[in-house]
Symmetry: C2
Amino acid sequence: MTLAERKRRLVADELARAALQLLAQKGFDAVTVDEIVAAAGVSKRTFFRYFASKEDVVIQFLADMGTTMRAELAARPAAESPSTALRHTVWVSIDACAGHTRQALPVVQLILGTPALLARFLERQAQWRDDLAAELATRLNLDPRADLYPHLAAGMALTAFGTVLQRWSASNGTEDPKALTDRAFTVIAPALDAVG
Amino acid sequence: MTLAERKRRLVADELARAALQLLAQKGFDAVTVDEIVAAAGVSKRTFFRYFASKEDVVIQFLADMGTTMRAELAARPAAESPSTALRHTVWVSIDACAGHTRQALPVVQLILGTPALLARFLERQAQWRDDLAAELATRLNLDPRADLYPHLAAGMALTAFGTVLQRWSASNGTEDPKALTDRAFTVIAPALDAVG
DNA sequence: GCCTGACATGACACTTAGTGTCAAGCAGTG
DNA sequence: CACTGCTTGACACTAAGTGTCATGTCAGGC
């Protein structure tokens, strides 16, 4: 990695660190971008060169998940049932959060507790859903234009994802995410695995 | 209704009419609030007395749906299976849109095609989901804190709702919403009606 | 070692969304 | 007529986000 690239990473990390610390502490609406950039020691203009919006600093923390999930689903063996493949797919993302509870829990709680952030988060999820649906259609040789199953199955999996995240967040990380994921998929599996 | 109340309705309607016409025609980001209020003949300050944000003018068009859905679910006979009750619940809202295709279709297409509007719309749906989950829990005598079913079932129903709306919108109102709703619920019913 | 091009930054001005405040207009009431 | 409550417009203000330009800094070629 070149020096310039390392410098960019450094600035982005410092900006994200300062932002998350302030936002989690004082609440999303009570912190201005000017405060964040003052804490990070850069100009406001630079902030918006790294993040498209104030929401983005928080949301980008979970940004990779979308591509991660699709890749994970694509990597599952073809013989696996949809419910099993999707359960593992969702679990990888949940685990990425729950595995770093100390850092991730406050962020998740901030997102779920802030309407503006929740809105952006759900918008991202909608994109993930389309990605997952496309992957599912490929996997099962279905026409995503004619068949409703891919979109619905992806939607159900993400509903499970959201519900687990919400429970985990509401319990302050107390509840076991693995168990929650399994319980959620037990509920939706009959629809995922029903013969079309 | 008193004169003052009728005047308020008049202003709100004119504002919404002017806004939707401009937004649908030129796109959400290409229209400023100043343009809207100029077209409606009121001050910018008045606009924000009627709508909390620019997004709200569009979203409020679908605002009632939330309460409508919960009321509709509460009104379904207790003996009905969850999938049947939820299918009717969702259908009432879909029909409220599809029944006024001329007015509703452009609005739905605007929402689904504008990230900022989609985000707000999904945020609303999240609230509906909690409402529906609470109603489902009551209906089935479940503890919504312990059991994942109510949230998941409500989420699946709203996934179906969103998928149907998306298909209907993408087909320019061509596809039959009733048939789409039935097909969607055929897919998710096995999970909704599985014994807990 | 010097020049040069690519790139990151800060400063500044600008647009737009959204809010607080206040004085003026207008209906209904005694 | 005087009083009260509600709606409105005008104005000033904060904060998010963008365009532009001059400056600085690192890389590789001469």
